[in-house]
């Protein structure tokens, strides 16, 4: 591969007591691509996401991230202020539960503007214009700008979280089951929105999901996990249409066909 990777992980291992959560996991992510991590519950998907994003320290192995200036940083060796800045600007994290990320006592506009203000934006008019712009991007009416998130529906909360995350134009977004807990029609709309935004902005993303259909729709590449081990990895269509590993075969065959 001639294009340098955006995020690389080698030999990630982590145990929770006697449970192996990650067993020598290697991950590569190139700029502008979406990588899906699929597997059943308890297979280590979310743990892997937390380790990749620097939130959890692995027992062994390392994660490297290529910053905007082309330098590679070892994520777990970064000083806390630098990692926090990275999380607030160049990276984004979309949680399954938007309430974990949003401030429920702050208006939608304030929620979207927080990352801008943390990055040093000090012009109220500009921040508000940006908030309006991003509200439109995630298909929320402009007159909801000063409303509190608690008046929003589940799907709108998730879209607000996405707007709040993307406002600083991150190059890499971590998504943990972004469509979990939403009903099917809302899910479809959200998936469509994520796909459009990610493609338009050229964002790279690591997407954790247990839903094969979500992975097929959004991701170019896929990594299948079982008990902390990446058992199969490759292009999404290739892996899902011609699964090699017995566990992947099981996962694909367990999807309901209509």
């Amino acid at each position: 591969m001639t294009v340098p990777t955006l995020l690389s992980a080698r030999g990630l291992s982590l145990r929770f007591g006697s449970i192996p959560a990650l067993v020598s996991v290697d991950i590569d992510l190139w700029p502008g691509e979406m990588l899906a991590i699929v597997g059943e519950s308890g297979s280590g998907k979310t743990t892997l996401l937390n380790v990749l994003s620097g939130l959890t320290k692995p027992d062994d192995g390392a994660v490297w991230y290529r910053g905007p200036n082309g330098h590679m940083h070892e994520v777990h060796a970064m000083p806390a202020p630098a990692l926090r800045t990275l999380h607030r600007s160049d990276w984004g994290f979309v949680h399954q539960d938007p309430r974990r990320n949003l401030r429920m006592t702050v208006s939608a506009g304030g929620n979207i503007g927080e990352r801008l203000m943390a990055a040093g934006a000090r012009h109220y008019g500009d921040i508000r214009a940006q908030a309006l712009h991003w509200l439109a991007q995630v298909e929320i009416d402009a007159d909801r700008l000063d409303d509190f998130p608690r008046t929003f529906s589940g799907g709108m909360l998730q879209r607000l979280q996405i707007a709040r995350t993307l406002v600083t134009h991150p190059r890499l977004v971590f998504m943990d089951e972004p469509t979990g807990g939403l009903d099917v029609s809302v899910q479809a709309r959200l998936l469509d929105l994520i796909r459009t935004l990610v493609a338009r902005l050229g964002i790279a993303a690591v997407l954790v999901t247990h839903d094969i259909a979500v992975a097929r729709l959004l991701a170019q590449r896929i990594a299948v996990m079982q008990r902390g081990v990446v058992v199969e990895t490759g292009l999404t269509d290739q892996v899902l249409d011609d699964p090699q590993h017995p566990y992947t075969q099981l996962l694909v065959s367990s999807v309901l066909h209509t």
Partner: protein
């Protein structure tokens, strides 16, 4: 006073507080924990300020105590008398004569000098406490100078009220680094903190924190480029001395809607009247 050490506190406690003060002066705006003592007055009445004053007071000092700008309210009178009895120091109501000024909720109108120290009584030293409930998290935010959240609060004010609606305890950034609560002084007094000649010490007794601003330090009130900080004051002049540039209290004078604006700084007002300045109400009194 017999049976008490000079200025009430024992020498070991004063040393402990002075160590905290030295650290606070070395890191302007940073909250330094200290072992706050039980004082013979309730929390919220100035236990932090009184401990700081007790540990910096010397026999030659002249003490002034103000409460909401006034020298003659219960809190000011009691604390002044407390130190007059336990330390035997001279007391005054004149800002210019004092070497140590303990204050609650105001900064005197008369500019302070390099040979003066002002001690603030602080109820809540943490400027982020209403925004972030976890002290672990606010300490981390201070350590990383991560103050976006404070601006979110200002943003919300403008979105909701059309302007920043904080009228007292207006957050400031000290020396371009630490976010600090100026104690509940009116926003009107914030500009006086910037580059002040006197040493400013802050004591929070219940919260067990001390912080400080050394002389000639930059103190900036947070704002937006297009919504700059404004020092809010009542519309009008002082009814007694006619001052237009001092912070005014509104006094209800009867039950028919009569009201009067007077200087909150009683010493400033009295000095102006002694110098011959007369306000609208003062003139009427003279005629009658």
């Amino acid at each position: 006073m017999k049976g008490y050490n000079f200025a009430y506190l024992d020498e070991q406690t004063k040393r402990m507080i002075r160590r905290a003060l030295l650290k606070a002066v070395a890191i302007p705006g940073h909250q330094v924990p200290f072992g706050s003592r039980e004082m013979p007055l309730p929390y919220g009445w100035g236990t932090g300020g009184i401990q700081v004053t007790a540990s910096i007071l010397g026999p030659d000092d002249v003490l002034k105590v103000i409460d909401q700008g006034a020298d003659d309210t219960t809190n000011a009178v009691s604390i002044r008398r407390f130190f007059a009895r336990t330390a035997g120091v001279a007391t005054t109501t004149h800002t210019a004569e004092a070497t140590v000024i303990q204050t609650r909720h105001r900064i005197p109108e008369t500019p302070l000098r390099e040979d003066q120290i002002i001690v603030y009584q602080v109820p809540q030293p943490e400027p982020l406490f209403r925004l972030e409930p976890s002290r672990v998290e606010t300490r981390r935010m201070h350590a990383l100078a991560d103050y976006g959240l404070m601006h979110v609060k200002l943003y919300e004010d403008i979105a909701r009220h059309g302007q920043i609606s904080i009228s007292y305890d207006y957050p400031v950034l000290v020396n371009g680094r630490y976010l600090m609560s100026p104690s509940p002084i009116p926003a009107f007094d914030n500009p006086k903190m910037d580059g002040m000649a006197a040493l400013q010490l802050f004591g929070a007794g219940r919260e067990k924190r001390i912080y400080a601003i050394p002389p000639w330090t930059q103190v900036r009130s947070l704002d937006f480029d297009d919504h700059p900080f404004r020092a809010i004051n009542a519309p009008g002049n002082c009814g007694l001395c006619g001052a237009s540039d001092s912070y005014l209290d509104e006094v209800v004078t009867d039950d028919k809607g009569g009201r009067l604006f007077v200087c909150s700084d009683t010493d400033h007002c009295a000095e102006r009247r002694a110098a011959g300045h007369i306000g609208a109400e003062g003139l009427r009194d003279a005629v009658e």
